[in-house]
Symmetry: C2
DNA sequence: TAACGAAATGACAACGTTGTCATTTCGCAA
DNA sequence: TTGCGAAATGACAACGTTGTCATTTCGTTA
């Protein structure tokens, strides 16, 4: 009947219970080697008995840092899981926790708003996950004392950015077609407002133009298989269409199904490449060649960039994480 | 050349700049109506000029709360995105931020460890996302002053839990088969260690036994299409197999492809139901009937449960979020 | 103009830690 | 036993807020 009265057990309570000074308790926690073993044991016993847990607020107030990195989710898509996974693992490894806020569905949120909200929370630095354009992107200035990293394919004038190298990935896929003897490449895009889709389209276009090929009109999709199917029906009627690059695997699959339904074979009649390399999860023996981005690596890099910049928040860097072409059997070699 | 000297601008600095007292600045922030408009303007101007941002640590220390809910991710799977989305949206709505930590890949983490780590962080309550069994599940006791909600299908002796009603969902699907005249239902499971898979299997078994049907040996899968395909090849040879329940859509698709490759038609020869209703994203015109769980709703409920329990951390409740059978065309009615 | 109650503002302590610096205790040599 | 330097411990202030209570200022009425 001795416990359970005060709400929170403080270091002072522990100190009294252990018959030592407040500061000694502090030392047991932060620099145990500087405390005699017998004293240390007394303190540990008291902490155990009282159920002491250090107060985060007081500690942070004194130290002037939190040990937390803020993460702002402007958009939560499929690939985001792996990215968060990477961020969280890297944070864990470096002894940081994450503080997360999210744009509410349907509402708008500018970078400035996000920064203002975050800077009221326990964070030493922050990461913005930005997959669509936002109004104040170019004018935004991060708080001078809070390292800010933006995950986005766009370059920012003052903040560090980290991104998949979507453009190179698309170029890589496109050149893969061309190197296999294809004379042109059609493109099925994702949602218009998606920066990923825009970058992939840009890379596709650049690769063709680099070889003096006029890019055909891209087909508009929405990431889902049905839109890919619709695009596939259109493409099946184009005699010059031997190669299709779809902005993700789901649409690529839609394209392939449409081609098949039109009596065309992949890869014999038409070759196809997708993005994300996730079709194998859903389709047995999937043959789709695909450009895979390392989202987990992306998250790790973003977090490391923040941590590296904690001391120099105004530093600025640009990190691109390259993609990988996962070769399967959906591209025919026309050179033979 | 007047700014930029002290690291952090405090309310005291603002007070001096505005020619008012510290407390008045505090009031401008927390109870603006109690401050004369002219004073308020002066203070706001000073805050603006100095770039003042309230110190989270000091505020929390004084208030004794953080306005943050801890989230522990023991496991980060596909469905987790929507759940996190729900948690984050609900948190936002109620004025909370999230503090997140994650089990490191490959390492083990007990509930007790998670609780210990979390209670050193800025959190008023916490949510554990637990999709696999953990060693100390039954013996775990949550900190008495920190409301703890576990997202898991298992019942916990002392903590509140929230879960999809996987078992009912599976039963629902199974009964749907039986009500359509099927005499038996085969089952393809997910990974052994997954609690979702275990619950789905349990529901399937229960539904059959309730009608006096001896459940056939379940086929072991691993969530991916290839394992579903393998199962499908086996099932295609069983003459009594008219209905297959697969523990997710990817495996269901694998099953369907195998059946087709064996010359069987879905649903004419064999009917199939999956879980998660996500095949339509990848397969154009998907006909797969599927049990869909509302992960977002699950997250919302979990967060609301934590917030509701902040004042009474030792309260305990059990919430089940029901699934929905999304009817498409993969089940044949044998009663005709 | 004086007096009054209400509204606005201010002084000071307190929240639970850690840093600084002073003091005590220890182990060992003289 | 005494003295000494090093190790261990302690007293006290400080971090930047908010709560309590006292004081000042305001607008109104007599």
């Amino acid at each position: 009947m001795a416990t359970m009265d005060k709400k929170n057990v403080s270091m002072n309570d522990v100190a009294i219970a252990a018959g030592v000074s407040l500061k000694t308790v502090s030392r047991v926690i932060n620099e145990p080697d500087s405390v005699r073993e017998s004293t240390r044991d007394k303190v540990h016993a008291a902490m155990e008995a009282l159920g002491f847990r250090a107060n985060f607020a007081a500690r942070s107030l004194k130290l002037g840092r939190y040990g937390c990195i803020g993460v702002v989710l402007f958009h939560l898509s499929g690939g985001a899981v792996d990215m968060i996974d990477g961020i969280a693992d890297a944070a864990e490894e470096r002894g940081f926790a994450l503080t997360m806020i999210k744009k509410r569905a349907g509402e708008k949120m500018t970078l400035a708003e996000a920064a203002r909200r975050m800077s009221q929370l326990p964070v030493d630095g922050m990461i913005f996950n930005l997959r669509q354009m936002v109004d104040d992107f170019d004018t935004f200035e991060a708080p001078k004392d809070l390292k800010t990293v933006i995950i986005t394919p766009m370059e920012h004038p003052t903040c560090s950015t980290v991104s998949d190298d979507q453009e190179s990935g698309a170029r890589m896929a496109c050149e893969y077609f061309l190197d296999h003897g294809h004379k042109n490449v059609y493109f099925v895009s994702g949602k218009k407002e998606s920066l990923s889709s825009q970058c992939r389209m840009k890379g596709w276009r650049a690769a063709l133009e680099a070889r003096g090929i006029e890019p055909p009109e891209p087909l508009q999709g929405d990431w889902n298989a049905d839109s890919g199917y619709a695009a596939g029906l259109v493409l099946a009627d184009k005699p010059d269409c031997t190669a299709v690059l779809a902005a993700n695997d789901c649409m690529a699959n839609g394209v392939m199904m449409a081609l098949r339904d039109k009596g065309l074979n992949v890869p014999d009649d038409v070759s196809v490449i997708g993005f994300d390399d996730e079709l194998y999860k859903t389709i047995p023996n999937s043959i789709l060649t695909s450009v895979k981005f390392r989202h987990r690596e992306l998250g790790i890099r973003a977090l490391n960039e923040v941590v590296a910049g904690l001391e120099a928040p105004s530093s600025r860097s640009r990190t691109l994480v390259s993609g990988v072409l996962v070769e399967r059997a959906s591209v025919r070699d026309l050179r033979a």
